[in-house]
């Protein structure tokens, strides 16, 4: 445990109290003692507030939890707000705060302390810092010291460190500047302090009681801690010593000494390995010996000594990992479990209070898991937890109570299943589990329900109780090899190429056919004029009144065949209107078209008219036809 201490006024109070005590015991210093007592009273009336933060372990694995407790000691707890935990960026708050308060009433003076416990889970690995947390106490903001927590990778137990954890408090009390004389060395008065522990081998989480003793041969007037004691690697709980220090006569090396118990601490190692309880430095004011009695009546001749206890090394044994029960949450000690329901009969939607109480000898701060599992037949609200600890003799007793409110959702006999709590008993060196008996709750239907209507159920969302991977899959229809996808198959490539090849082929074929057709058309068009001329020559031969019909047929044939050749159609179905249309499409002028038309009509008229025409008429028609053809040829090829 790393302790970050920010005491304001505490050191003064201690010195003052001890000064008062020293004055009471002192023979000649009553005047000074009285003054000091006055000062002490004034100090007590002032608002003395101390805040400190500590964690139950300074080295955790990344999946473990850390219990952070912020303790406020003040004269009254009226205006103590919870710490501002917004700055806990390196940690995720799992639960909390669990608030517990302690009151003390000593010599007419009350002092109280309130602690806020949070269960944290570190985010990430490495050295994570719990920053200075601000608390609003009686309108003033007090800050704790930052604490470093070393987060190591891995899931299971915390690996045994090679030595005490490295992360000490930052800005914590340093070593005293004054060199300390060896305790056994010769001095004007032999005063020594030492630390005594009840055991030097302990399991992780087992209580070690450390007593800090003062052995003196001379009269001690005043006594104070040089700096606030700090026990890295331990969770420290103060064991109150009586206001009037216990006094004992002891012999040390055949020398008589008076021994006072100055301070007792219940220490809980938070990690395995070799941990050291560091020396605690005291400032001791003693009466100088061999003084003039007159002088010593008015002026107390004093001398201030610096003494530091020897560090004590504790061999901390890790909890056996092999036999660790599954639900073990880290509690070490000897605990009892009680589960009680406030009633055994209820109605649907009628709340039942269930109290789970775990109490016993040991540090309860490590117990953070909600002991009652999620129950399907009850609606369950987050429990109200309260924790308290007390001392029975020198052993720390802890008690943690979870108050659940359960709302039965279905009628019938519902069971609250047995609650199991596992802990490690350091006396026997083995794990123990305590279980409660299951509690049967008779749940009746709601009273307002008649026989005919269905019970009114308050609906709640289906909650996910846990998370895991989905189960394996079965293959009832056999396995399918998907190592070669369809797009890799040769068929796919063939089919991809197929339309390209086919379309290209079609394209080439149609182009070729068109080209051939175009060739034929061009030839026919080119030859249209000469063909027409040939036909007209033929007509000229028949230019005689006897064969006038044949002549006109030949001229009409030459004209219409010319048009058919030019426009690549058959001459047979070519009407005059169609020819007109085709000529117009080639941009032949209106006059030329009508000329052509007139020629054709003249031929038709002459062919089918009964009166035979004379030679001159024929000659004129032939010339007109030739002219028209020449003009047409020019117009079309232009």
């Amino acid at each position: 445990m790393t302790t970050g201490v920010a005491h304001q006024g505490t050191a003064r109070r201690r010195t003052g109290r001890r000064a008062g005590r020293g004055a009471r015991r002192g023979l000649g210093g009553w005047l000074l003692g009285g003054l000091l007592a006055l000062a002490a009273a004034r100090a007590a009336s002032a608002q003395e507030v101390g805040v400190r933060a500590q964690v139950d372990r300074s080295r955790v694995s990344e999946r473990d939890q850390v219990v952070l407790s912020v303790e406020v000691s003040a004269a009254s707890l009226d205006q103590v707000g919870p710490p501002d935990i917004a700055a806990l960026g390196d940690f995720e708050i799992i639960s909390g705060p669990a608030v517990s308060s302690r009151f003390q009433w000593i010599n007419g003076r009350t002092s109280a302390s309130k602690s806020f416990s949070y269960v944290l889970r570190p985010k990430g690995i490495g050295t994570r810092t719990i920053p200075a947390l601000g608390l609003l106490v009686q309108g003033k903001t007090y800050r704790t010291q930052p604490i470093d927590v070393e987060v190591v990778p891995g899931g299971g137990g915390v690996p045994a460190p090679g030595g005490p954890p490295a992360g000490g408090p930052r800005g914590g009390p340093g070593r005293p500047q004054v060199p300390i004389r060896p305790q056994t060395g010769p001095g004007p008065a032999d005063v020594r302090v030492r630390a005594e522990v009840d055991t030097r081998t302990a399991y992780v989480g087992q209580q070690i009681t450390a007593r800090f003793l003062l052995d003196t041969q001379t009269e001690v007037l005043n006594l104070g801690l040089k700096d606030n004691p700090n026990f890295p690697g331990f969770w420290a709980e103060d064991i109150k010593v009586p206001e009037n220090l216990e006094m004992k006569r002891v012999e040390l090396g055949a020398q008589p000494y008076t021994e006072y118990t100055l301070m007792k601490k219940a220490l809980f190692p938070t990690s395995a390995g070799s941990l050291t309880i560091p020396g605690v430095a005291y400032q001791i004011q003693v009466r100088r010996r061999g003084q003039d009695p007159i002088e010593s009546f008015f002026f107390t001749p004093t001398e201030t000594l610096q003494r530091r206890t020897e560090p004590v090394t504790i061999n901390v044994v890790p909890l056996p990992a092999a036999s660790r029960p599954p639900g073990f949450s880290g509690a070490v000690g000897s605990f009892t479990l009680q589960v009680s329901a406030d009633r055994k009969e209820s109605q649907v939607n009628d709340a039942i209070g269930v109290k789970v109480r775990i109490a016993g000898e040991g540090n309860m701060n490590a117990v953070s898991v909600s002991p009652l599992p999620e129950l399907g037949d009850f609606k369950q609200y987050p429990p109200r937890t309260s924790a308290s600890s007390s001392l029975q003799g020198e052993r720390l007793r802890g008690e943690k109570v979870w108050d659940y409110v359960l709302i039965p959702l279905a009628p019938g006999t519902q069971q609250i299943p047995p609650v199991t709590f596992s802990f490690f008993d350091p006396r026997d060196g083995e794990y123990r589990s305590v279980s409660s008996a299951p509690i049967a709750i008779q749940v009746a239907r709601g009273s307002d329900q008649g026989g005919a209507t269905l019970p009114v159920v308050s609906q709640s969302d289906v909650r996910a109780l846990g998370r895991d991977i989905h189960y394996i899959k079965l293959a009832p229809d056999g396995l399918a090899d998907r190592s070669r996808p369809f797009y890799r198959a040769p068929l796919f490539a063939v089919l991809l190429l197929l339309p390209i090849v086919a379309d290209a082929g079609i394209f080439a074929l149609t182009r070729r056919r068109e080209a051939l057709q175009a060739n034929a058309r061009q030839r026919r068009e080119r030859r249209a004029r000469s063909q027409a001329r040939k036909r007209l020559k033929e007509a000229r031969r028949r230019m005689a009144p006897a064969s006038s019909r044949a002549f006109y047929a030949a001229v009409a044939g030459a004209l219409s065949q010319y048009a058919a050749d030019k426009f690549d159609t058959a001459a047979a179905g070519l009407t005059h209107d169609r020819i007109e249309e085709l000529l117009a499409s080639r941009g032949v002028a209106e006059t030329l078209r009508s000329e052509f038309h007139r020629c054709l009509e003249a031929c038709d008229y002459a062919r089918f008219a009964p009166a035979s025409s004379n030679q001159a008429e024929m000659q004129r028609t032939l010339e007109a036809a030739e002219e028209v053809l020449v003009a047409l040829e020019r117009s079309i090829s232009a």
């Binding site: 394996i472 396995l479 797009y487 379309d503």
Partner: protein, 267 residues
């Protein structure tokens, strides 16, 4: 992981490359007649071992199936599950990734992959696709790759047929109708082709999973180069280059460096 590697190389070599391995496996199995030998029997044996909580046995059975060259996404999924239950996150994530590549629509495989990825040490922010893209991806993921391929092919052939008919047609009106139809179907084919190309790119992306608890990523392909950053088991990296037993890998956040080839396993 050698079985997985064998499976991949087997898949690459095709049937002929796989045959000797198959014969070897069959010969080995013949010596122990009680053992299951066909992939289906092995699958059943693996499943029953998994049910009884003997995950290592189950994983061995599934790996044997993969070693035969039979790649069924369900086998890979179950193999991932078995590795997950054994606490081996790297192989589990690798197998889930492979299963998702084979069957992108498998929600369970995706969720298990996400779940397993939630337990690895490295948190690497993957770029988030905007909503419409994501919705489209989800719809497309449901369609199996082969269906997508067939759809694309059908549309593509239809375009080919329409263009061919258009070429053959001699009437201007009919030609115009056919051209418009070909354009419309062609757009559909392009969409299907795009989806298929995306899928193929996804499937063939050169990604790898870190298989060792802790791997130093160095600035160059040799052990004496500076360590740039460290990745942990289960993290997915993209393989950029390969050089003499070293891979150049990069993370989605643009960090990049070289790792020994043995430290990662290609998906």
């Amino acid at each position: 992981m050698t079985a997985g590697r064998a499976a991949r190389s087997g898949a690459r070599q095709g049937l002929w490359g796989r045959l000797p391995a198959l014969v070897l496996v069959l010969a080995g199995v013949a010596g122990a007649p009680a053992l299951a030998s066909t992939p289906a029997e092995l699958f059943g044996a693996g499943n029953s071992a998994y049910e009884k909580g003997r995950f290592d046995e189950a994983a061995a059975a599934y790996e044997t199936i993969v070693g035969y060259g039979v790649l069924d996404p369900r086998v890979l999924y179950n193999l991932g599950n078995a590795y997950y239950k054994m606490g081996r996150l790297g192989p589990a994530i690798l197998q889930y990734e492979r299963a998702v590549r084979l069957a992108p629509g498998d929600r369970e495989a995706r969720e298990n992959l996400e779940f397993a990825r939630g337990r690895i040490r490295d948190r690497v922010a993957e770029p988030e696709a905007p909503y419409p893209v994501k919705a489209l991806q989800e719809v497309l993921d449901v369609v199996p790759t082969d269906t997508l391929s067939a759809l694309f092919l059908a549309l593509y052939l239809a375009v080919g047929g329409l263009v061919g008919a258009c070429l053959l047609s001699r009437q201007a009106m009919r030609q115009r109708i056919l051209i418009y139809a070909a354009l419309a179907v062609g757009l559909c084919a392009a969409a299907a082709g795009g989806a298929l190309a995306y899928r193929i790119r996804d499937t063939n992306a050169t990604e790898a999973i870190v298989m060792q608890d802790r791997v130093d990523v160095r600035s160059g392909p040799a052990a004496d180069n500076t360590v740039l950053f460290t990745v942990h088991e289960g993290t997915r990296v993209e393989v950029r280059n390969r050089l003499e037993g070293w891979y150049q890998v990069s993370l989605p956040n643009a960090l990049s460096g070289w790792v020994p080839a043995s430290a990662v396993e290609g998906v």
